[in-house]
């Protein structure tokens, strides 16, 4: 368990280089406290998704240390699968398993990783589906759902593992505009319940409403960190100002 003052997530000097030449992430330091909501913004290709994916080691950092809930993920002795079960992840493209029903999507990892019985897993699955507002879709297949519903199932799937941390990688970017709100509402509720969250998004409204801190990343570096209103209205860096000038109107 995490002691009160140690961060839930700690990135220390994390860099990621692709093919030895493309520096996607350069020397990123970031601590996220328990219960904190951190929103990462930045231009496309700035490395913000890569930073997020380094947190559960979907992307293995070239150098640097990643500590989640007291476990050093960059230590070869760490059981990665064990830690990943504690870190829920929601993807831009939902990544539901198309060959399984909604409920099967949610129970698979509970049974295989958490060792829950079928009925326990189903009960937990239904509870999470109710939480995201679509318990009636339990027996549907993913492709029968709208994008917004699919993304809510993906959130329910991650929550059913009872993770300590939730990571969101542009969760609304692939959605039709009318479905963005239903997903953001679920995320807002989650934030208000005290979940530790790291969110990569272009939804500045969500950042204002939910974020404790806003992180602006450009060219793989953290340029600016601060309270959302402050970074929006009074950025200290030129690069941050240039970015917000382009996207806010």
């Amino acid at each position: 368990m995490t002691a009160p003052n140690t961060p839930m997530i700690s990135l220390q000097g994390v860099s990621k280089t692709f093919n030895r030449t493309i520096h996607a992430v350069r020397d990123v330091d970031l601590d996220v406290a328990e219960g904190e909501v951190v929103v990462i913004v930045g231009p496309s290709g700035s490395g913000k998704s890569t930073v997020l994916r380094c947190i559960n080691l979907l992307e293995i950092p070239t150098t640097g240390i990643v500590i989640v809930d007291g476990s050093n993920l960059t230590d070869v002795a760490t059981d990665l699968d064990h830690v990943r079960a504690e870190v829920g992840m929601v993807f831009q493209q939902f990544n539901l398993f198309p060959h399984l029903t909604v409920l099967e999507n949610i129970t698979l990892a509970q049974r295989k990783v958490r060792g829950r019985s079928k009925s326990e897993a189903s009960e937990m699955g239904m509870r999470q589906l109710t939480r995201v507002g679509i318990p009636d879709k339990a027996d549907a297949f993913p492709r029968q759902l709208s994008g917004g519903q699919q993304q809510r199932v993906a959130i329910a799937r991650a929550l059913a593992m009872e993770p300590r941390v939730m990571l969101f990688d542009e969760p609304t970017s692939a959605l039709d505009p009318e479905m963005v709100k239903e997903v953001l509402d679920v995320m807002l509720e989650l934030a208000s319940e005290g979940m530790t969250m790291v969110v990569v998004t272009h939804e500045m409204g969500f950042a204002k409403a939910a974020a404790d801190r806003l992180v602006f990343i450009d060219e793989g570096e953290i340029v600016e960190v601060g309270a959302p209103e402050e970074v929006f209205s009074n950025p200290s860096q030129d690069r941050t100002r240039a970015f917000f000038d382009k996207i806010l109107y």
Binding site: R84, L96, F97, V113
Partner: protein, 275 residues
């Protein structure tokens, strides 16, 4: 075929008349088969050819089934081996596949059946003899079958690999991010989806193996083609011998592909709402 246009009552329409979409080819093939069957019954020369060739059917079918079974095992190992994290396994699997795919089947059959398989069994037998006083005898026909399996194992390994790699990486990432390990992700997430891409070409390879058992005639295996050659050479009735063997192959391959079509349709139907 949005390009297709026909006219009806002087107006362009996208409707196609029945005679345009009717599978005439199946009528033609069926007619040829019926004519051949009729010849075998009423014509003594064709009847004799049939009597001399049909005993090879057992060997043709047996080596097809055995070769397919063994090839399936080899393909699973070589296909997944190519994606292994272990550098040695990965490169050995790749070497095997590239070698076999790069050499035409006929020279490969000679190489494998006359050089590799005998030397390998000799090597194995000296060991087995020394340790257990027992030897392992591969019948001549089985040697030919194993040869075919070694060749098709490489082709089918590529089907496995292609099927698995056709599944978007996001699926693996989703599985791993939920805490499933590599094996669990492969078994519960990737393979069930990959099977849909794997089964149809596997069926095609089964038919291809059936046809390629004819190449085993160069080794002297008494399957359909070899018997047709012997019959034709001894009686000078080339037309009868080769027509009858073609007839047998056609009946086999056509009924197999009809069967496969049914299987594929059932496979897609059972998956309810899925793509």
């Amino acid at each position: 075929m949005s390009e297709f246009r026909s006219s009806r009552d002087g107006r362009i329409t996208d409707e196609r008349p029945w005679w345009d979409t009717f599978p005439w080819w199946s009528v033609i093939i069926l007619a040829v088969l019926v004519w051949m069957g009729f010849q075998i019954i009423v014509n003594d020369d064709y009847g004799l050819a049939w009597e001399r060739i049909i005993p090879g059917l057992g060997l043709t079918l047996r080596s097809t089934i055995y070769a397919f079974g063994i090839a399936l095992g080899i393909a699973l190992i070589a296909g997944t081996g190519q994606m292994s994290r272990n550098v040695i396994i990965r490169n050995l699997a790749r070497t095997y596949v590239e070698f076999v795919r790069g050499i035409p089947m006929l020279p490969l059959i000679f190489t494998v059946a006359l050089i590799l398989v005998p030397e390998f069994t000799d090597l194995l037998n000296t060991r087995l003899n020394a340790w257990f006083g027992w030897e392992f005898n591969l019948s001549f026909e089985m040697r030919a079958t194993v040869t075919l399996a070694v060749i098709y194992g490489a082709y089918m390994a590529e089907i496995f690999r292609g099927g698995i790699q056709s599944i978007p990486p996001g699926q693996t990432e989703a599985g791993r991010s939920l805490g499933l390990n590599r094996r669990q992700t492969m078994r519960s997430v990737v393979l069930p989806q990959a099977m849909r891409a794997i089964i149809p070409p596997m069926g095609n390879d089964f038919i291809a193996i059936l046809k390629d058992t004819s190449l085993l005639s160069v080794l002297g295996a008494l399957e359909i083609t070899q018997r047709a050659r012997q019959f034709s050479a001894s009686t000078f009735k080339f037309r009868e011998g080769y027509f009858v063997s073609a007839f047998i192959y056609l009946v086999l391959t056509l009924s197999l592909s009809v069967l496969l079509g049914v299987l594929e349709r059932r496979m897609t139907r059972d998956r309810k709402g899925e793509r």
